[in-house]
């Protein structure tokens, strides 16, 4: 069962998110004997929090791909993300990541609930959404920064990170990440300007890898309706699934794009 596996994987994380102990950097070690091995086995509070943030963002991404996102769930996840980001801002850890990548003010980086809650359809109707593209940069920044730390942390923390990197990785991980972001940027710029671009213009700018990723993900979600754990685990074989993926989801995405233009 995917759900049972999920339980075991994050068991170590669970011990850290026990009630009342927000600042568990050192408190957690009281539970273990206090050996050096024990200290190494418990991920630091910041890493746990980061892991939770990543997990939440992935959940929201997946709910974008679903046909009709459950609004209550999206709102709750978005509020959790906000909470983490606010705490990280107060901590100063958010600032650190900030200055490394773009140097914008920290409040701008808070992902707006709007983006996180609306379906991709409604997003297209909406206003300019700065938070979304910067979120992507954050995600990649975190990935690069923490990749070295990933090796030394406990396996239970590593697993969710690997799942997330699989989401974005295909044959050429770096290339495709950049292409995906570029395509999204272009789409949103088009919406912003509200210039009557023709459909062909839009399609010519968008990289094909965007559709591949999207097809793969929507193909995932329509194939397996089990927990997200299951959905994420099947990402390990992208090529096989891409070939099986639903043509209908391809068309749906194209329909979305066309509808965006018709409205603007």
């Amino acid at each position: 069962m995917g759900e049972e596996e999920g339980l075991h994987q994050t068991q170590l994380l669970d011990t850290m998110f026990v009630r009342g102990l927000k600042r568990k950097c050192f408190d957690g070690e009281e539970d273990i004997e206090g050996t050096l091995a024990g200290i190494k086995a418990i991920p630091s509070y910041n890493l746990q929090r980061q892991s939770l943030l990543d997990m939440s963002l992935v959940k929201l991404q997946l709910c974008h791909m679903l046909v009709e996102p459950n609004l209550c769930r999206s709102v709750l996840i978005a509020n959790t993300v906000r909470q983490i980001q606010e705490e990280m801002t107060q901590d100063g850890t958010w600032q650190m990541i900030n200055t490394q990548s773009t140097g914008q003010a920290s409040l701008d980086r808070l992902v707006s609930t709007d983006i996180l809650c609306r379906s991709s359809r409604e997003q297209a109707e909406g206003k300019h959404v700065p938070g979304y593209t910067t979120y992507n940069k954050d995600f990649e920044g975190d990935q690069a920064q923490d990749s070295s730390e990933t090796m030394s942390t406990a396996s239970s923390v590593q697993v969710p990170r690997n799942l997330q990197s699989n989401v974005w990785e295909m044959e050429n991980p770096q290339e495709n990440k950049g292409n995906f972001q570029k395509s999204l940027d272009q789409i949103f710029e088009t919406l912003e300007n509200k210039s009557p671009n023709s459909v062909e213009d839009l399609f010519s700018e968008v990289d094909n890898s965007y559709y591949d990723l999207d097809t793969m993900l929507t193909g995932m979600m329509s194939n397996s309706k089990m927990g997200h754990c299951d959905g994420l685990e099947t990402f390990s074989s992208p090529t096989a699934t891409a070939s099986n993926s639903n043509c209908k989801s391809d068309l749906n995405e194209l329909d979305h794009i066309v509808e965006i233009l018709v409205e603007s």
Partner: protein, 443 residues
């Protein structure tokens, strides 16, 4: 029921449950009618199955009335919203019965977008001897008709037919989570994530919006409506719960749009229990008035709370359903179980409350004796007519013989929907695609 909880005299009598396990058969709602004679279930495939209680016969006094299938019909079909390119699920979210006013039964059933009023009626006679058509329904040649006759009603095998009498559509942008029939029996409300609409049963092309919490800027959305219900006696009063763990009581007499509440129920947060999951587990998944109308019961992820309508600042009773999950919240967040919406029910006398849990467990709490019991709805662990054995989840290190450890719980077997007969100790428990009915042991 107090006695039963103490001495655990709860027997089980199984009805004929579904023997296959396709996704469409997952039961999504269970509801007794006002007399308890009928029990309706809705499933993920859009079907409604109604069970009727057998009349108690003098020949077999030990067999208290069992529930048998009375009627089955397809209430909702899958739809496609072409404007948004979105599928609309046919899953029945809620069924609510209307009180019986004539020989026919009426119920409301709803999916995410559309509410329908169904009439369920019996037919045990049919007319015979039409002039213009013969018994097969074929038209007769008018030139062959030489005499007129009066059709007569002849008895036939009992047929139960369900017909849709009203369809209330196109009033909800978001997903409908609750419907509630008003005590005036003329109106009802339907609630989605952000709005609540008031309908008149006779009018399908318009409804009044009575609550709207949609912010002008969707970026500011942080709270949604999770459940709503009318007061059982006061037709002007209703409550709705939110994803932030609050309940608002509104009076429709104050204004047309009840955005301003008359009462606001919220328990202050316990700072020692605060975590990143605090808000998610405080989200209320169900709210129910007591039969007396004096109390409301709310269900959040880990607890059931009883509130007195006259006291807004905290509940009068709090019951822990499965507190052992508190240390597992991160895992439950990852596998999405933390978003499961459990329902809760009162018994007829408001003395016992019941709610579901995982591993096909369900819990009952006696408000007077403060005792509670955990029972299991599963075929393997109980035989028909056998008394249910109480279950226990062990949290510590040492596991006793019959206990089950937290890590062995099956989180795919969740009991979200239960119902309690309005006057007797008969309960209906939906475990995925199986329906269990349990009754008190007689003497």
């Amino acid at each position: 029921m107090e006695e039963d909880v103490e001495t655990r005299k709860i027997s089980s009598s199984f009805l004929r449950d579904h023997s296959y396990a396709t996704e469409a058969d997952i039961i999504s709602t269970v509801e007794f009618n006002h007399t308890g004679e009928l029990l309706a279930t809705g499933d993920k495939g859009g079907r409604v199955v109604i069970f009727q209680r057998e009349q108690e016969s003098k020949n077999q006094p030990h067999r208290r009335g069992e529930y048998n299938v009375y009627s089955t019909f397809q209430s909702h079909e899958p739809e496609f919203d072409y404007l948004k390119s979105l599928e609309i699920e046919e899953k029945i979210n809620k069924i609510r019965w209307l009180p019986q006013q004539n020989a026919a039964y009426f119920l409301l059933s709803t999916n995410d977008k559309t509410v329908k009023l169904w009439k369920v009626s019996e037919r045990d006679k049919r007319p015979e001897g039409y002039n213009l058509k013969d018994e097969d329904g074929r038209l007769r040649d008018p030139s062959m008709i030489t005499m007129l006759r009066v059709p007569v009603l002849r008895p036939m095998d009992l047929m139960v037919e369900a017909t849709p009498r009203r369809v209330f559509a196109n009033a909800h942008t978001y997903h409908i989570n609750s419907i509630s029939v008003n005590s005036d029996y003329e109106t009802y409300m339907s609630a989605d994530d952000l709005r609540i609409n008031l309908w008149n049963f006779e009018i399908t092309n318009q409804s009044f919006n009575i609550v709207d919490i949609k912010p002008a800027n969707m970026e500011e959305l942080t709270e949604v409506i999770t459940a709503a219900e009318f007061h059982p006696h006061h037709c002007n009063t209703f409550v709705y719960s939110s994803s932030k763990g609050t309940i608002r009581l509104c009076d429709m007499r104050t204004s047309a749009l009840c955005d301003r509440h008359a009462k606001f129920f919220e328990e202050p947060e316990d700072p020692s229990n605060r975590s990143f999951f605090s808000e998610i587990i405080s989200s209320i998944s169900d709210v129910k008035f007591s039969h007396s109308g004096r109390y409301i019961m709310t269900r959040d992820y880990l607890t059931v709370k009883v509130w007195d309508l006259n006291m807004e600042n905290r509940p009068i009773e709090t019951y822990q359903v499965h507190d052992y999950l508190r240390s597992k919240l991160c895992s439950l967040y990852e596998n999405d179980c933390i978003f499961d919406k459990f329902e809760c029910v009162w018994n007829g006398s408001d003395s016992v409350i019941m709610t579901g849990s995982y591993n096909n467990f369900f819990r009952m709490f006696d408000r007077n004796t403060k005792r509670d019991v955990t029972l299991e709805a599963s075929r393997e662990n109980s035989k028909p007519r056998a008394i249910l054995k109480p279950r226990k989840v062990c949290v510590g290190g040492k596991r006793r013989k019959d206990e089950i450890s937290v890590d062995s719980l099956d989180f795919s077997k969740k009991i979200l929907h239960t119902a309690w007969h309005p006057s007797e100790n008969i309960i209906a428990v939906a475990a995925t695609n199986n329906l269990y009915i349990f009754q008190d042991k007689v003497n």
